[in-house]
């Protein structure tokens, strides 16, 4: 694993999410998370679903919308060090299959969580907030947007 790549692909972060097996691996990880939460005897099924949804969206926010730059030195001399992972996907092109997939997973989880919690008011409120956290940062209009300079540097 030479940490410096020697090809024209200067930022592997742009393309690693397009690789084979990513979608299935991602859904498998969500399923594993869900089963871990279901196994905890304290949580009811409804609680486990809401927690899956919330933990997934918070984790996704931290990984894609909070951490900036790359965990390895890239060949583009730091062009992307101020960009979050979401903004680096496919070098900034919008509406690509990866982006559509990653946007639809929180939405899908929201539907599942609402269903399994019998649309209980408290659960739906929490799930709606989690949905907002999961989907709003992915809007194309918010590409490279920083609210009040938070997370700019």
């Amino acid at each position: 694993m030479q940490v410096m790549s020697a090809t024209a692909i200067t930022n592997p972060n742009a393309s690693w999410l397009n690789t084979r097996g990513m979608w299935l691996g991602y859904l498998t990880s969500v399923a594993i998370l869900h089963f871990i939460l279901l196994s905890v005897p304290l949580f009811s099924t409804a609680m486990a679903w809401t927690l899956t949804h919330v933990v997934h969206n918070v984790g996704m926010y931290i990984m894609f919308h909070h951490m900036k730059g790359t965990p390895y030195p890239t060949g583009d001399q730091g062009d992307v060090r101020r960009l979050t992972n979401w903004e680096q996907i496919d070098n900034g092109h919008q509406y690509t299959p990866t982006r559509i997939f990653l946007t639809s997973v929180p939405i899908f989880l929201f539907f599942l969580a609402s269903f399994y919690t019998f649309h209980d008011r408290a659960h739906v409120t929490v799930n709606l907030i989690a949905l907002a956290v999961g989907v709003i940062p992915k809007f194309p209009a918010l590409h490279k947007f920083r609210l009040y300079g938070i997370n700019r540097y």
Partner: protein, 539 residues
């Protein structure tokens, strides 16, 4: 009339006659060239596939890049997920002060200028560092078929290494020693030794000042003759040949169309030149044609003026994939769209083609069709440095305009002598059949090794005739274990993973050599077979 027709039917079209099977008794028969082959190719239309020069009756050599199997890809992603999670946990514990290692100790040093490299070094610190004993292994002998690896152990999980003082003699499957010239005995070594006595070790000057020796003149003439171009220019460093000469040839207002997987030297040269760079999908003629069409019709970005020059940058053999650029189609495209072709033969000069003249000879492409041929002496000639071969006026221009000839020291005389001697041997000008033998041995080794691996159900990329054999390993754990297990069996291999390759395509890259004998390869194959069973690497 019937007599004439029956007489004519006796004289059969030689192309229709089935060719006899090759006998392996003489080396030249392995590369059996026939007049009919070249005739067939010159008559062939632009769209037809030229027959394989090695065996006229045989179809074009197969290239295969099977997609990763889905379950392996999913497990690879999950492996990296676990590693990243553990890495974050370790970083968190380090911040809390609960984990102390050389990294935290180094951070305590107040005098050290703290660059904010925390996240950028995440991968190196948490993943690469754990397994870095598989890379940068020092060797203590010539990198021939066998090489001495310096033994080292780590007491602190690969933060530091300690040399035990011993060496292990290992079978070398990682060096770019294609024709086996990495020897410290023999005619090349003797000639280089004599050259050191005559000229000393260095030239102490760039080529444009006092650094051009008579050896360089001889070498340039020899390289031009070897490659089939009118003139050539040699440089002291292979990487610098690309990165310093592409800027001399291209500038603002020019377009560079470069393959996705081109080497860092080409990418650096393209960036330094100031030209517009477009990238086409690896070996995809369709992608290249689409880009060329667009470029020719649209012109330059804002002004829509025609491009000053369009240069297509390809490599002969891609060392990470083992694939060959489809030269005949690329030459066709370049003629259609009036572009230029720059061919980087770093891994293919000496290693491909019936007499080792590179991919042009392999594909049967006329060297006059390739505008600029570049290559390095590092791989097949056992030396160092690079060359550019082109028309006389291009070489005359480069002699003055190249950054290398102006600022970088020229090829040292012993190195130039090594190249001259090895090239003479390859061409057969020394009167022996040694060169022919080596080229044929390399092809035999490449085909045999790849065929045996495929029979054993390993997933192997690349062209059947290329001396680079990547075995796909996928998971990061298997990458590490493959390297370590083979080292225990005294076989040295090079493994590559993310981010140098795609995240699901980590591989072991085996470079075959003419100095490998059948026995060595059989031993290697036996051990690789066992490790493959142990690590579940097979289909």
């Amino acid at each position: 009339m019937r007599i004439i027709i029956s007489a004519c039917s006796v004289v059969r079209d030689p192309r229709a006659t089935p060719k006899p099977l090759l006998q392996q008794s003489s080396w030249s028969s392995l590369w059996h060239l026939e007049a009919e082959t070249s005739e067939a190719m010159s008559n062939g239309s632009a769209g037809s596939r030229p027959p394989d020069m090695t065996n006229p009756g045989r179809p074009r050599a197969q290239e295969s890049f099977p997609e990763p199997p889905l379950m392996k890809a999913v497990f690879t992603h999950l492996s990296y997920g676990i590693l990243i999670l553990l890495g974050h946990v370790c970083d968190f514990l380090r911040k809390l002060g609960m984990k102390r290692d050389p990294y935290t100790e180094a951070l305590k040093n107040e005098d050290l200028f703290k660059m904010n490299l925390d996240f950028e070094m995440f991968f190196t610190r948490n993943i690469y560092r754990r397994i870095r004993d598989c890379w940068n292994r020092p060797i203590a002998s010539a990198p021939g078929a066998y090489t001495d690896l310096v033994d080292r152990v780590s007491d602190d999980c690969n933060w530091t290494f300690r040399y035990t003082g011993t060496k292990t003699n290992c079978l070398n499957l990682g060096s770019y020693n294609y024709l086996g010239f990495a020897e410290n005995t023999g005619p090349c070594a003797d000639a280089a030794y004599q050259s050191t006595l005559d000229y000393g070790a260095g030239t102490c000057s760039p080529a444009r000042e006092l650094g051009t020796l008579d050896v360089h003149k001889k070498l340039e003439a020899l390289v031009a003759r070897f490659v089939g171009k009118p003139a050539a220019l040699v440089f002291g460093m292979g990487f610098a040949t690309n990165s310093m000469n592409i800027p001399a040839l291209m500038g603002k207002g020019c377009l560079i169309v470069s393959n996705e997987l081109n080497h860092a030297s080409i990418v650096t040269g393209a960036k330094l030149s100031g030209a517009t760079v477009k990238v086409f999908k690896h070996n995809s003629v369709k992608s290249l044609e689409a880009i060329l069409r667009r470029a020719v019709t649209d012109g330059q970005p804002r002004t829509h003026r025609p491009w000053r020059k369009i240069l297509i940058l390809v490599e002969g053999v891609y060392s990470m994939e083992g694939s060959l650029a489809p030269l005949p189609e690329i030459v066709q495209l370049k003629k259609k769209y009036k572009a230029y072709v720059y061919l980087d033969e770093a891994h293919s000069i000496g290693a491909m083609g019936p007499t080792g003249r590179g991919v042009c000879e392999y594909w049967g492409v006329d060297p006059a069709d390739i505008d600029i041929m570049m290559g390095t002496f590092t791989k097949s000639f056992g030396a160092a440095g690079g060359y550019i071969a082109a028309n006389q006026d291009v070489i005359n221009y480069l002699r003055g305009a190249s950054h290398s000839t102006t600022y970088a020291a020229s090829v040292p005389a012993p190195v130039a002598q090594q190249i001259i001697t090895s090239m003479t041997i390859i061409m057969g000008d020394d009167g022996t059949k040694e060169g022919e033998k080596r080229v044929a041995q390399l092809l035999d080794n490449s085909r045999y090794f790849r065929q045996r691996l495929t029979e054993m159900n390993f997933i192997v990329y690349g062209n059947e005739d290329s001396p680079v054999v990547p075995i796909l390993l996928y998971e990061p754990g298997k990458v590490t274990s493959f390297s370590r297990e083979l080292l225990k069996k005294k076989i040295a291999v090079v493994v590559v993973g993310f981010p140098a390759t795609s995240i699901v395509e980590a591989r072991a890259r085996i470079c075959l050599s003419a100095s490998h004998t059948r026995d060595m390869l059989d031993y290697a194959l036996k051990e690789i077979n066992e490790v493959g069973d142990l690590l579940l690497l097979k289909k």
